[in-house]
């Protein structure tokens, strides 16, 4: 929709105050959010650094926080414990059969690291890290991934967005409608679509990873009538 016509309407209504108020659009429901309320919830950070809170930290300081608050799931060096996410390493694996997607090998922006730690980590104690602690943990993750070489380098709201991650250039906008254009084929084959009879190439039961409870109805049953 075009927003400008409505704007013209509002302006027009303003000229004739006795006529319908601007609430031809507005229903005057709710109230204005106050600056204090917005400040309390407005925590998102963009790649250009917009939204970063004032603060600073270093990898050296971050290491202490990480070992205490993060390592039980993510491992001492960000290698991940059990099925919890790996945060460091994986360089050179992205094109391989088993890509290891970490901050250093896959993530495009440092802002995302800060934003996510600040809003959702540590898992189960979200939004308990201060901005300074978040800068430090972010710096430590960059240090673990060889993005920062100096563990005393200060990361703050002014320079975080200038630190670039190596995989940024490899992301591109969804292009399925052109790259996969062949799938738009309104008249699919109906007869003799395979040169010979279909043969089984892969079976789920070869792996046998289906949860047991699921097979309640699928257990070997009596012969079919």
């Amino acid at each position: 929709m075009s927003r400008s016509p409505n704007r013209i309407l509002i302006a027009f209504a303003g000229l004739f105050l006795a006529v319908a108020p601007a609430s031809a659009e507005r229903l005057n429901i709710g109230r204005a959010a106050t600056p204090e309320e917005i400040k309390g919830w407005d925590i998102d950070v963009r790649p250009d650094g917009q939204g970063l809170p004032v603060g600073k930290g270093t990898a050296a300081l971050g290491e202490t926080i990480f070992q205490e608050r993060c390592a039980s799931c993510h491992g001492e060096f960000g290698e991940g414990a059990g099925r919890w996410p790996e945060l460091a390493g994986g360089a050179g694996t992205i094109k391989s059969d088993s890509p290891v997607k970490t901050v250093g090998s896959y993530w495009p922006y440092v802002s995302t690291v800060f934003d996510f730690i600040h809003r959702a980590m540590p898992f189960g104690a979200a939004q308990t890290l201060t901005p300074d602690e978040t800068y430090s943990v972010t710096a430590y993750l960059l240090y673990l991934n060889d993005i920062l070489k100096d563990q005393d380098f200060e990361v703050n709201e002014k320079n975080l967005a200038t630190i670039r991650l190596p995989n940024e250039k490899n992301f591109f906008m969804d292009d399925r409608e052109t790259a996969e254009k062949e799938f738009w084929n309104a008249k699919p084959c109906m007869k003799d679509c395979l040169p010979k009879e279909a043969a089984i190439t892969s079976r789920a039961r070869a792996l046998d990873v289906t949860p047991e409870k699921a097979s309640e109805a699928a257990k070997p049953s009596a012969p079919v009538q």
Binding site: M1, R3, L27, G30, R31, A32, A33, E37, I38, W41, D42, D44, V45, R46, P47, R83, I94, D97, P99, Y106, T112, D115, A120, F123, G124, A126, N170, F171, F172, M173, D174, D175, R176, E180, F183, W184, A186, P188, M190, C193, L194, E197, A198, A199, I200, S202, R203, A204, L207, V209, T210, A214, E216, A217, A218, P220, S221, A222, V224, Q225
Partner: protein, 431 residues
Amino acid sequence: MSEPKQRANSSRPTSRRSFLRSGLALGGAVGAGAFAGRAAAEMPDAKNLPPNVPEWSQSLGDGVVSRPYGRPSKFEADVVRRDVEWLTASRQSSVSFTPLHRLEGIITPNGLGFERHHGGIAEIDPAEHRLMIHGLVEKPLMLTLEDVKRFPRVNRIAFLECAANSGMEWKGAQLNGCQFTHGMIHCVMYTGVPLKRLLEEAGLKTNAKWLLPEGADASAMTRSVPIEKALDDAIVAYAMNGEALYPEHGYPLRLVLPGWQGNMWVKWLRRIKVGDEPWHTREETSKYTALLPDGQARRFTWAMDAKSIITDPSPQAPLHRKGFTVLSGLAWSGRGAIRSVDVSLDGGRNWRAARLDGPVLDKALTRFYYEFDWNGDPLLLQSRAVDETGYVQPTKAALRQHRGLNSIYHNNGIQTWHVLPNGEIENVEVA
């Protein structure tokens, strides 16, 4: 009343199917030997079968409001969401699956719709919930749930599919059951206010291009949504299937983005920020991006491609007799309505048109049927959806040719079920 209890407590859960099987056995049309080895507890009690008068026809049942909030029959106790424990590190950041093999029509009951949480289920007192709209707006808004309900309402049936639905099947057939291979989908009717209406109330500035909806749960879920979608068909919903959202589906407010990947339908919606650029949040960079074999990664893959699945028969819903057989399935597309569905019994060599039944709605689940006579020979069942844009659901091989094996999300390839002569069914792939 003792007999049903015994059945419900028996080691093998009782199902509609086992009733049917048992009924057939006692109906005398088939030899008793066919059911040798079945647990005695599953056999119906002859005293409740014709010509006798069943006990429930002679004594009074429970009165009204014995179940102030109704629930399914106890004989349906196995129709539940299930999870795959090895899949995730914790149940607070995990997924459960819709039991598609036991559902009919196109509407998913509220208690059976799959769950995907990133920080557990937030239990929110609606009196303490607020929706804040701010950023590039003329008037930043603070709305209570009551406020949201004062806006004009819309009703809309829409499917919600997780982008990772069928994601475990990229490298080959893995899980035996459509609940697990395709159960990260549900379809309900939402009631709410068009997001466009709320944005008009706040007044968009001319440079407003993107929205950042945020959840009130412990993951504070955020995704970047382009303004075009917000002004098109997005809804801020407070009801599903006629009643308030369930907590696991975002009570008291969630975002509805018809046709788009479920991760963006932010639950427990507490804030919408309006901006001029996307935020590149964790869930649209590290996750929900499609890594291709050349190392490049596709991002902002919002629309769900057309897809279909045969829900019955399927590995959790085997066949029990030869002869006339009803095949039932679901089809959907994030780009519009389903135009047609084809079914193959021979692994994709030959196809026949399935019959669509019930409402065929834009970006909603669509039910299809195919009736045939089964002579007991093995079958390789497949279904193939075509949507109104002309998109034809591809084979898994064709998808892999484009995307390789590591793109995790948006696996809409054609599924094959192998029907064995004894009626058992397994998840396979064919070539």
